[in-house]
Amino acid sequence: MAETTGRQKRMTAVKIDMDAVRLLMEEAAVTTILPYFRKLKTGDIDQKAGPHDVVTVADKASEDFLTPRLQALIPGSTVVGEEASSADESIMDALRRPGYAWLIDPIDGTANFAVGNALFAVMVALVKDGDAVASWIYDPIRGICAMAETGSGAVMREADGSTRRLQTPKPPSLAHLSGAPNLRYGDRDFAARIAHRMDKTAGVMILRCAGQEYLAMLDGHFHYAVYNRAMPWDHSAGCLLITEAGGIAKRLNGDLYRAADKPFSSPLVAACGEDQWTWLKKDIFDA
């Protein structure tokens, strides 16, 4: 299998300049995203798959800004951007080949951005041989950026430039967990079963933006999220962050999340800890 060959092949490890990537994301926000926030005209917004799936001129401008600049940071790296991939799905194959690939979500939460709601984010993950090895989630409105490198932990850089280490709080029982059950996609009976059992938990919060949901989980605002459809640009950055912050990102079939995964697979459950993931699987998700 291509994945196996990819992981066996030895790559020269590169030193990742975490702040250089963060600064590029900030610049993308200032020059290509924020000028459009609450100022979009009707013609600036397009539908992709349907009314639930929109894209704006700012998504395209942000991706166009980031693509060459990220690529230039690591010689030989490829770029997998959300908008480029929606025009040509084969671009995603780069995630399943050996080497470095940059995953870009130029605006995550476009449905919020397009209607003037501040719950959106910019996400970047650096993927090596199919797994994220570094990641960034930037919130242009709050000016905060969550960053992680495999094995080095996760940090939040605040708007004032200070940084703090991220460690997910771990509530003591299922009844204390609240989370984001994203049920719009996938199996309808699975969706119905989860909703039916939500009264066993502490509450529901769904932000229409995976990037904001990961930020919320990293800070303990809630404790888990479920995704039936996991596009790599929506989840690679957040899954590495949550793992490095002491949480877990695992599919219900037991497989750890990988950037190289196909979008539709076993449902992805990100949770604040291994115990909490197990409680959720047993009492909420299992048939």
């Binding site: 639930h52 209607v115 009976d189 119905a192 079963r193 909703a195 009264d199 529901v204 229409r208």
Partner: protein, 274 residues
Amino acid sequence: MTIPMQAVGDLLLQAGRDIIMPRFRRLRAEDIVEKTSHRDLVTIADEEAEAFLTPRLEALMPGSRAVGEEAVGRDPALLALLGQPGLHWLIDPIDGTASFAVGCALFGSMVALVQDGDAIASWLLDPPTGRLYMARKGEGAWLREPDGEMQRLTMPRPSSLAHLSGVANYGISDRTLAMRMAQRIDRTAGVLNMRCSGQEYPAMALGQIHWAIYGRGIPWDHAPGTLLISEAGGVARRLNGQLYRACDPPGGSPLLVACGEEQWDWLKTGLFDP
């Protein structure tokens, strides 16, 4: 009757700026107390904001009386006042306390003026930004920006169920309804659930989302927002067809709020009817 719309808004802003925001992300463990359970919290900021607003609102309208969330927590009989003749101030000093207590900015502060059982004016504040939403029965709904600029609010009405997104509250107490809604949620454009009606009503009034379903209908959570929605062109009606009233006792038929009558019907038929 003259209602001091701007003066009430200014009081709410003052409570947000001077009492609530200084406590945000600075709460100590002893500042947070569980009321009936770990899902039902109150903080020192809730208590202080309500104590600040109660006498000041009563002083603005002679003969009016305040009914605050925390006061009702101490004396549940107070809630019956809302069904009595006269003027009552409904106060939700911090809606979304669960978020406020963990440092999440999705909370709100709300006030409604209730006359003879129905809200006749309301104010909803987003304390972190200072954006204030106001409605006056029969006159309309507005957003007052922190710089004082006023914007009239009129909700857009999307053209089909597939274009509607909203607050699918899977935690609603009717488990069958929750299950049915989740099963069919792929017929809609998406879900945004901010765990705080004080954020959700303004998002609806701005057209960022188009509907919400609520199971409990507690007056301080819903009287201010349902008036805002009605005055912005939407509808706040229970699934049994009754219009929402501030004096309704908590519970009852689930409250479905939507951007228009047609959209309310599509949602009822498409998501909630058996």
